[in-house]
Structure formats: C-alpha cells, structure tokens
Amino acid sequence: MNRLRVVLVDDHSLFRAGAKAELGTDLEIVGEAATVDQAVPVILSSAPDVVLLDVHLPGGQGGGGAEVARAVLAANPAIRLLALSVSDAAADVVAVIRAGARGYVTKSISPADLADAVRRVAEGDAVFSPRLAGFVLDAFGAAAGDVAAADELDRLTAREQEVMRLIARGYAYREVATELFISIKTVETHVSAVLRKLQLSNRSELTHWAARRNLL
C-alpha cells in the first residue's frame, strides 16, 4: 500500500515536528508551511492527497486556514483538506469548514486517530469530531421538532441527526453503524451530507459564525 502524501500547515514548528515524528510511519510528509503565503504555493506545487491545516495562521489577508482553503480549492478543487486546531470557538470551526475543509479534529487527537482521519479524508469522506458534531446539532437545532426551515439544506434529516448525536457521544463510525443497524458506508454518506449542508446552508447561526471571521 502506498503511503498517503500529506502537507502540514501549522505556524508552530514544535507541533509540526511532533506530528512529523508521530505520523511519519503511516504517512509521507511532502511539504510544510508556517504561514498563509507559504502554504498556498507549497500545497499547489506538491499536490498532496491531504492537507493538514491549522485554523489560525499568520500572513495573507488575515483569514488564516480558511483563506488557505479557499485559495487552494479555487486553484485545484481535487485537493482535500483536514482542519486541525486547538481552538474551541464555533466561529473558527465553521469558518474553515465553510471554506471547504472536509473535516475538523482537535490537536488533542491521538496519532492513530489522526492517521485514520487523514486516510478517511483522502478517500473523500468527511471527518467529524464529537465537538464538531455538537456544533452541527447546536446550529441546526437539536430538537427533532425544529422543522421550521423550508430549505432542505437548512435542516438535518432524523437519521442525520441520530448519526450526529452518536458521534457527539463519542461513537466511532463503525460503532454508529452497529448501533443503527446500517453499514459504515451509509454512515459515511450521512456524514458527507451533513458536511455539505454545513458548507452550503444559509442558516442564520452558520452565517453569523462565518461573518464573525469575515468570511462573507
């Protein structure tokens, strides 16, 4: 099995060194960058399978990881990005997801889980941490009766809500599949659908969060 090619974008050299040491056996680190201005050319020239992207980055227009994601995807939509941050702020999370990242994990994730998440993103799936699932439930209304939104993009289906709830409870995709008697593939489909809604929906909570990061 050929190893996945990954670019690390993070302004903390300590973190880059640590991640490199931990992931080096599973993944091939083909590039590193510390600022927005460095990141875009490095990513576009090395064309990696996955970019591990920090949310807070210096340089550029001040847009951080979201700016990198937009610039990279505008030039090459095939590149997949996984956001990685210590931040808990909803505005940061939503901003980078709406800019096109395929998932969001916190830096406290274990190396094995991170490698797993990278692989998942490389295969085109979405990666949701429990916290991101919590944000989604918060933004789309956790109450099942909340069907006021007319647009299909603005609400979750009952099944998607169940999946999000289980992920927020700490279930892995495999465990979600077992719990709901569905295949892992179906779970992945649901999660990807939620990701699409997160990126395209006009729900006021999402646009509000995004606007705070000067996204809109």
Partner: protein, 423 residues
C-alpha cells in the same frame, strides 16, 4: 469624585460633593444656593460641573466580562437645555420689567447679544457630546451649522447697527466668505487631528486589552509552567497540571462566562473539570443547548458527576460526556472505553455507586440506564429528564434514540425501583 446620574437636581454637583465629603445632600445644596446668591458660589458650581465627570454605573461586573471592557468615555449628559431656558426666561422677564419701568433700551445691542448667546449655547452643547472622533448624526451637523449661522448673523447685526438691510446682507456675505475661506484652510489640519485621535483611541484600547491578557497569563499560565518545571520528574502530575491549565485557559478564551447558577451547561462543564482534577483522566465534553437549573437538573448534574467519576475510575480513557438540552428534555450520556462490565459480577460497593447515579435521576421522574457493550465497547450511562413534567415526549424520544435496545436485551440493564433497596 463623581457626579451621580441618579438623584441630581441640576448637574449633580451638590450630590457628588456631598457624597464625596460624607455630608447629606440638603445642606450642601443650600450652601450652594446661599453662596451662589452672595458671591462666587455660582462660579464654583459651574467650574465643578465642567470638570467633574459623571459617574457611569452601567459597566458589567469585571468577574463576568470576557475581557477587560474597552476604554469608554464616561457619559456626560447635562441638562444644559433646561438651564439655558431658565436663564433666557429670566432675561426676558428683566427686559419686560425694564421697558415697563420706562427705560429706553438699546435694542440694537441686546438683540445681537441674545443671538450670540444662543449661538454659543448651540456650539457648546455640541462640545459636550462625548466623543469628538465618533461619527456625528445629521442632527448634530445641523446644530453646528445653525450655531455658525447665528454667530455670523449676530456679528453682522452688531457691525451694521442701525443701518439698512442692504448693508446687513453685504456684511453677512462677507462674513460667510471669510468663514468659508478659514474652513478651507483649516480642513486638512482638522481632519488629520480627528484621524490621529481615532488612532490613539484604538491604541489605548489595544493596550488595555493586552495588559489584561498579560495579567491573566501571569496569574495562570506562567504560574502553572513554573509548577510544571519544578515537578518535571512526575509525568502524571505534569500531565494533570497541563490539562487543568488548558481547560482553564480554554474557558477564559472561548466562552462567555455565565452568571453562577444560571446555566446547567456551565454546571456540567464545572463538574467534568472537578472529576478531571480528582482522577487525572481526560474528559471530552460536548454540550448542546442550555437550560436554567432547577431541582431535577441539579440532581441530573450530581448524577452525571457520579457517572463521570465511575467512568474515570473503573473504565478506560477516553471518557466522553455529551449533554443535550432541548425545550422538552435534557439528556446526558457518559461513555468510557473500558472492558464494560458484567452486571452479575459487579461488586456490592459499585452497585451502590450506580444507585447514586440511576436512583437519583429516577427519583426526579427521569429515565436512567447503563449500557455495556462488552470488552472494548465500553460502558455508557444514559440519563434523561423531562423538562416540562406532564409530557409524554420523553418516552417517545427514548424509543427513537435507541432502536438497538430491543435487539440487545442482555447488553443493558434497567434498574427497577424494587432493586433500590438491595445493597
């Protein structure tokens, strides 16, 4: 010394002075009236009025603010209008009295004087508006323009005293032309001054925020780092210190602090933090929604604490806490990745712990269950509490959440009330 906003008669000077000196307000007011009539008391009053800032009592308590509040100009609204109206009425009364007494008034002096006074009042009431750098409303521009027009009119009237209308108009035009010229020359300078003022404001605000952050980092992070360095030989202690500090910093950075006792979500986070401190096991907390605490929710929080302690002590990391508040019900899930446990082999003391989790919630009309998935699957404690009591919704939601329950009856346990008495 401050001039209080509440309880002032004219400018709050007497009230402020009385408060500052520790006297009651009445004698101070009378003293101002007496000395004002006798001599320099009025001047003293006006001087204090101009120099003493108004008290601003609308600040959020510092303990609850996310960061130090930005520097703001204290509001200095003064009932100048009323004072001016009073003076004007007095003046008019004096005039009427004088004409009544048969005096021949030099109206060509008095009329421009009155106009000039009105213009000065208009202009000065503008100066009083707090922030010169702040954008002005249309109204304040109109007032400024009116003041200038009035001054020009007054000066023209003074100069052309007794002459015909044509020369009045000519002098008016000349005055306006001079004003326009001066404004044109001074405009760049004034604009630059405004810009510099704005920049300085922003810099001060940034400085204050930076000082606040520095103070916080010193009190928390730097201290913790020092402790970590001194305990470097003890990995468990270091990990624990780092985690506790991380949690505290996160809370400070990313969350608006809520009033104590107003948020069940905050209570759950606090409880998770306590358990982390006690057991040094990391707990991932995700809370969706929030609800004002009540008796049942307090029990739910207490039961959650027991469940977390249980998971941290007997299960294996990662321990996760998920809570969801909808208008109808509150749900809490505590999950660990331990070996799971076989209920038949649970020691008596541990059953007691479970009673303090499950029994507590059931006594408040909630549902509680423990699901154990066997080795590697971990254990999950599910607590559910209806928030609007006579409501069939919780049971409906319960079935919707977990259709797997019927298929795996052996993997879970409901504690019936009858079992409560067992040890």
């Amino acid at each position: 010394m401050r001039r209080p906003l509440a309880g002032r008669l004219v400018g709050g000077v007497a009230a402020g002075l009385a408060d500052n000196l520790g006297y009651s307000v009445k004698p101070v007011r009378w003293a101002f009236v007496v000395f004002g009539l006798l001599g320099p008391g009025l001047l003293f009053y006006i001087w204090l009025w101009l120099t003493v800032p108004s008290a601003d009592s609308t600040e959020r308590p510092p303990a609850l603010a996310r960061l130090a509040p930005y520097l703001t100009q204290p509001s200095r609204a003064r009932p100048l209008a009323r004072l001016a109206a009073g003076l004007g009425l007095l003046g008019v009364a004096g005039l009427i009295a004088a004409t009544g007494a048969g005096l021949d008034l030099p109206l060509e002096w008095i009329l421009p004087g009155v106009v000039l006074l009105a213009a000065v009042w208009l202009a000065w009431s503008q100066l009083d508006k707090a922030d010169p750098a702040a954008p002005r409303g249309t109204f304040s521009w109109i007032r400024l323009g009116g003041a200038i027009a009035l001054v020009v009119l007054a000066v023209s009237l003074l100069i052309t005293r007794g002459s015909d209308t044509v020369s009045v108009v000519a002098v008016l035009a000349a005055g306006l032309a001079v004003l326009a010229g001066v404004a044109l020359v001074l405009a760049p300078w004034g604009l630059r001054l405004l810009a510099a003022l704005g920049d300085q404001r922003a810099a001060t605000a940034r400085e204050a925020e930076r000082a606040d952050i520095a103070a916080h980092l010193h009190d928390s992070v730097l201290q913790t780092l020092a402790v970590i360095r001194s305990q470097a030989d003890d990995p468990a202690a270091v990990r624990h210190l780092a985690r506790a500090q991380e949690r505290e910093l996160r809370e400070w950075l990313y969350q608006d602090r809520s009033e104590p006792g107003q948020s069940t979500a905050a209570a759950l986070r606090t409880v998770a933090g306590e358990v982390e401190d006690l057991t040094t096991v990391e707990i991932g907390v995700v809370v969706v929604g929030d609800h004002r605490p009540n008796e049942g929710l307090s029990a739910l929080v207490a039961a959650t604490r027991e469940a977390l302690l249980n998971a941290a002590r007997h299960g294996a990391a990662p321990v996760s806490l998920y809570a969801e508040f909808s208008p109808r019900q509150a749900e809490v899930f505590v999950r660990d990745r331990g070996e799971g446990f076989d209920l038949t082999s649970v020691p008596a003391d541990r059953l007691g712990v479970r009673e303090s989790i499950l029994g507590r919630v059931r006594r408040h009309g909630g549902h509680a269950e423990i699901r154990s998935g066997g080795p590697g699957q971990g254990t999950e404690v599910c607590l559910r509490l209806a928030l609007t009591p006579p409501d069939p919704a919780p049971t409906a939601a319960q079935e919707q959440v977990s259709p797997a329950r019927k298929a795996k009856p052996s993997a879970e346990e409901r504690v019936s009330p009858a079992r409560k008495d067992k040890p």
